[in-house]
């Protein structure tokens, strides 16, 4: 989230789309209730189903699964057409005035630079026009045809209410009402907050869905404002933490990236990630990248990482491509992997195309499960009639199942969706011989290291030289690990302006990433977490819940990254002269000498407004990008593409160009394009989702939750039920091109058919929570049905929009 949970109470309009906060984040949703009760806020819900969030809404708009870009682009067009934008904010804080070079083109759904065979774009034709001074050229009058504002206007003029209604199935008047309500927050003292979740991420165009909404918020002037922002409602208690720590194929802690094969020299690696400012006077905070990277290598490799050894640059593996889960399981399926570890994750149930996942596991030599619960994945080899049909004797995988502690039996921190790191304490011992995750991975590592010490072997250096300063080697403490993430001085750090003054003594915990250095004198395991455990102690364990300004800013409760900042881009809550846009909900403003207010300023504290330092300090331009000249794999501007399995067969915006039906830049593995389901065989749109009472495949092991929703069911609308002769309570068979499930049918008014491009589209709703382990009734794994294709930028699978057929079982 750019903002945080409590801040939602400050909103004037709440848009819940691509998410269902009332059911998936009920305690967070309370802040929507507060906004309605105390701030007269209006709640709008846009969803294929009338969810419990919709039940609380002032206004509900139905939408066809996978068409959110069209809907949001339609709102952008409405705002531009009716001139309902926050003009001063857009001019000063976005790249609306920047000129794009003259090679940029967009034709019938494809941007310039497309390689059809590789399904990839070369983004060089999307770049800014660069002046002789090396800076991007701007036109502050916004009249130039190639300025971002006009390119954007031109691009979105196609998304009229009629076009939106045709693609999304939303009745025109309903759509326009949503636009009108949102447009009321284009004035400086009203804000919309957008709350979204996996309804936007789990699509082949998911990243662009989110980006369209972000553009909307920028046009309305809602980023950096109280009650505004782009608020991702994440799904797990520490998914934010693990993302921040870089536990993904191409990441390092703090969103730094792993080098590519071609970056053989550290200087090349650093250069690309240390951009020069694209406008004068900008902070361009990523200029500090070398400090973060050097400090990380010092934290991990200590004395083996010095200027001489290029800070152990080659110890880090390099990438020739992304090894996300779809790619990994494709390789596993091809027999190219030997071992795999599943810690607290149940991929047989969670990953798309269950049949492929099961077959992939069977090709491994060894599989290690680390979990507090007995999962389906751990028993992928067990024959369970109907639910998991497999010949155990043919599966040669050695499977180890290691019992771990659960949350109640460990100490440490978790990062919530609002970026708050909250410390928790241990209340009991785990059952039996279960051990903590830290002890388990530490034990494994020390044994492997020991084998390398004794026997030698393939490139042992990064293993032998990994810092391991823990007092009990087999049991590093949460305190030691947190302090390592925070970072410390490795030598006395002198003031650069006065070398006789020592700012930090060797061994001292550092106060934040602002003091990190690139010369090897500082160590820091995760630069964005620097400040979480300082010389003053564990900031994450603080419990002062006072809210002195009354806007929900509790700066002394726990600790947020970065540097305890609660609302990102909060400098944008004030106008270019430093006065708050909305004096009634102040965040941060200029007092004549410094920035300050109810939050830690997201700006150099002494940057006078006359210097025109932009609020979006993480971009080299200093302003936010309505047009993205680089960084997006599938285009600088979001465009509507259909899901890979579409009920309307073509893209209504590009009916004659099959290249532009689905996302042209999404990766599709060889052989998969041909097996996507077609509407002839699978006529109904389908989507998967959670119930209020359950959490994925986890809570079916919990008596309390199992009794509330004990049996697998699917949901269909009354019209479809009548068509197929299905009554509520009957067993039905739902099938896709990848397999089938059987479940009880619930016939409901809450899912209506939608008229899209001349077709009546029905949607089948598929809650996910059952499997063949646990105390609920055994059920089919819902992901038997879902497609093995992901988002063009991040490879998140398209769980939320695919095709099925349904019949009585």
């Amino acid at each position: 989230m750019t903002n945080h949970w409590v801040d939602i109470k400050n909103a004037n309009v709440v848009l819940i789309m691509g998410g269902n906060a009332a059911e998936a984040h009920p305690c967070g949703f309370k802040w929507v209730t507060e906004a309605k009760a105390h701030n007269k806020a209006k709640l709008i819900v846009v969803d294929p189903r009338f969810t419990r969030s919709a039940a609380m809404a002032d206004y509900y708009a139905p939408i066809r699964v996978g068409t959110d870009i069209a809907f949001l682009a339609g709102i952008i067009n409405y705002l531009l057409t009716h001139d309902k934008i926050q003009h001063e904010y857009v001019k000063a804080y976005t790249n609306a005035s920047f000129l794009i070079n003259d090679k940029y083109k967009f034709e019938d759904g494809i941007f310039s630079g497309y390689d059809e065979k590789a399904r990839r774009y070369d983004p060089s034709s999307w770049g800014y026009e660069i002046g002789k001074d090396g800076y991007a050229v701007v036109d502050e009058t916004l009249k130039h045809p190639r300025c971002v504002f006009n390119i954007m206007k031109e691009h979105y003029k196609r998304y009229t209410p009629e076009v939106v209604s045709n693609i999304c199935g939303t009745p025109k008047e309903t759509f326009v009402k949503v636009c009108e309500t949102i447009a009321t927050t284009s004035v400086p003292d009203r804000t919309t907050t957008i709350m979204y979740a996996l309804g936007w991420t789990q699509h082949s165009q998911g990243t662009q869905m989110i980006r369209t909404a972000a553009m909307l918020q920028l046009l309305l002037g809602n980023i950096g404002m109280a009650g505004g922002g782009m608020n991702a409602l994440r799904g797990h208690s520490n998914i934010q933490g693990l993302t921040d720590l870089g536990l993904m194929s191409n990441l390092l802690p703090g969103y730094m990236t792993i080098p590519f094969d071609r970056e053989q020299k550290r200087e090349d690696y650093l250069k690309v990630r240390t951009p020069k400012p694209l406008r004068p006077n900008q902070m361009d905070f990523p200029q500090n990248f070398p400090k973060w990277h050097t400090s990380l290598m010092k934290a991990w490799y200590g004395n083996a990482a010095t200027a001489k050894s290029d800070f152990a640059y080659d110890y880090m593996p390099k990438l020739d491509r992304l090894y996300d889960v779809l790619q990994t399981f494709e390789l596993m399926y091809q027999g190219k992997m030997n071992g795999y570890f599943c810690q607290g994750f149940n991929p047989l149930a969670s990953f798309p195309h269950k049949a492929k996942i099961g077959k992939a596991f069977a090709k491994l030599k060894y599989l290690v499960i680390i979990d507090p619960l007995a999962t389906e994945t751990s028993e992928f080899w067990r024959n369970v009639p109907d639910y998991n049909e497999v010949k155990s004797e043919e599966v040669q995988t050695e499977v180890f199942r290691l019992p771990s502690t659960c949350f109640a039996e460990e100490e440490g921190s978790l990062t919530n969706s609002g970026r708050w790191l909250q410390w928790h304490y241990k209340g009991a011992e785990p059952p039996g011989e279960a051990r903590g995750d830290v002890e388990i991975v530490a034990d494994l590592f020390l044994r492997v290291r020991d084998l390398y010490r004794k026997e030698g072997g393939a490139f042992p250096d990064p293993i032998l030289n990994l810092t391991w300063p823990y007092l009990i080697p087999q049991a590093p403490s949460p305190e030691e690990l947190a302090k390592e993430m925070n970072g410390k001085a490795l030598e006395d750090l002198a003031d650069p302006k006065d070398k006789t003054k020592v700012l930090f003594k060797a061994g001292e915990q550092l106060p934040g990433f602002g003091v990190l250095r690139d010369d090897g004198s500082t160590a820091c395991g995760c630069w964005i977490y620097s400040g979480c455990w300082t010389q003053a102690g564990n900031q994450m364990a603080r419990r002062d819940n006072s809210d002195p300004y009354g806007v929900g800013q509790t700066l002394n409760w726990a600790w947020a990254w970065p540097v305890n900042r609660r609302v990102l881009y909060n400098r944008a809550s004030s106008d270019p002269s430093g006065k708050p846009w909305d004096p009634k909900r102040k965040l941060v403003s200029w007092n004549g000498k410094a920035w300050g207010g109810s939050d830690v300023p997201d700006m150099r504290p002494d940057a006078a407004p006359e210097e025109h330092v932009g609020p979006f300090i993480m971009t080299p331009e200093g302003v936010a990008r309505l047009f993205a000249p680089f960084g997006m794999a599938d285009g600088p501007l979001p465009e509507h593409y259909e899901p890979f399995e579409t009920p309307v067969d073509i893209n209504p915006l590009h009916p004659k160009n099959p290249k532009a039906t689905a996302n042209p830049a999404a990766r599709v593995f060889k052989g998969d394009m041909e097996v996507f389901g077609k509407s002839k065989e699978f006529p109904y749109a389908a989507t998967t989702y959670r119930l209020t009472e359950h959490f994925h495949f986890w809570s079916k092991h919990v008596d309390f939750n199992a009794v509330t929703q004990p049996q697998q069911f699917i949901e269909i609308g009354e019209e479809l039920a009548k068509e197929k002769g299905i009554a509520s309570g009957q067993m039905v068979k739902v099938s896709s091109n990848r397999g089938f499930i059987k479940a009880v049918a619930v016939v409901t008014k809450r899912i209506k058919s939608l008229d899209c491009n001349g077709k009546k589209v029905h949607t089948v709703g598929i809650p996910i929570h059952w499997g063949f382990k646990g105390v609920t009734k055994n059920g089919y794994i819902a992901n038997t049905l879902t497609p093995f294709v992901g988002d063009a930028n991040i490879q998140t699978p398209e769980y939320k929009a695919f095709l099925v057929n349904i019949e009585k079982a």
Binding site: W5, P26, C27, R234, G235, H236, S237, I239, L242, L245, L247, S249, L252, P253, D261, Q264, D314, P317, Y323, V325, L331, M337, G339, Y340, Q343, G344, S350, K365, V368, D371, P372, A374, S392, V395, E398, F400, R401, P403, S404, E410, S413, S417, G427, A428, E429, E433, D443, L444, L451, P462, I463, A482, M485, G525, N545, D547, S699, N705, T796, P797
Partner: protein, 195 residues
């Protein structure tokens, strides 16, 4: 009788005497015979965070056991933390069921192995499990580690192994896991954030 939660606990914890019951406003005579203590009065409160979604609701866990050396603490109740600025003492249906998660009959207790081709689990010791796994890892990494790619560039990666990390595990766990996994050269590395 107007008192806050903490005062209430103090009163009940002070012992089951008629005096405390009288303070609660009960007529002492028939109630003095009752020697039952308030269930949570002798528990230890521990602060934790709900492990499910990313709202990060504060929870208070109540365990029996006085933290003496051989006393095994057992959690008997979990409820929302009223001081937490986000959830203010409330929990959703998932959080409300946390006690049954902690005590679920599906909790794993012992290391087990399923041998190739087998239809059953076999209980083994930690030592055997870790020895075998480490041996697999070493053999596989030595055999399949890619120091240089086909173009002779230094890449130092191990592609035949992968790791899925748990997004309900703590930052400290995640940090150490990441550090270890990268030192081995693994790039097939993700957590629930990918899906």
């Amino acid at each position: 009788m107007d008192m806050n939660r903490r005062q209430f606990f103090k009163v009940c914890g002070a012992g089951l005497t008629g005096s405390s019951l009288a303070m609660l406003g009960y007529s002492p005579q028939p109630v003095l015979a009752e020697v039952r203590n308030f269930k949570l009065a002798r528990t230890t409160e521990t602060r934790n965070t709900c492990p499910y979604c990313a709202v990060g609701c504060g929870v208070i866990m109540y365990s029996l056991g006085d933290k003496a050396k051989n006393a095994k603490a057992e959690i008997i109740h979990i409820e929302g933390d009223p001081d937490h600025p986000v959830n203010r003492g409330t929990l959703c249906p998932k959080g409300a069921g946390l006690l049954d998660f902690v005590h679920s009959e599906s909790r794993l207790k012992y290391p087990e192995v399923r041998e190739p081709g087998s239809k059953e689990w076999k209980r083994i010791s930690w030592d055997e499990a870790m020895t075998r796994i480490a041996k697999h890892m070493k053999a596989d990494r030595d055999k399949n580690f890619i120091a240089k790619n086909a173009d002779g560039q230094t890449v130092n990666r191990w592609l035949s192994a992968g790791f899925l990390a748990a997004s309900a595990s703590s930052n400290e766990t995640g940090y150490l896991t990441g550090k270890i996994v990268r030192s081995l050269g693994i790039v097939a590395f993700d957590n629930q954030a990918r899906v």
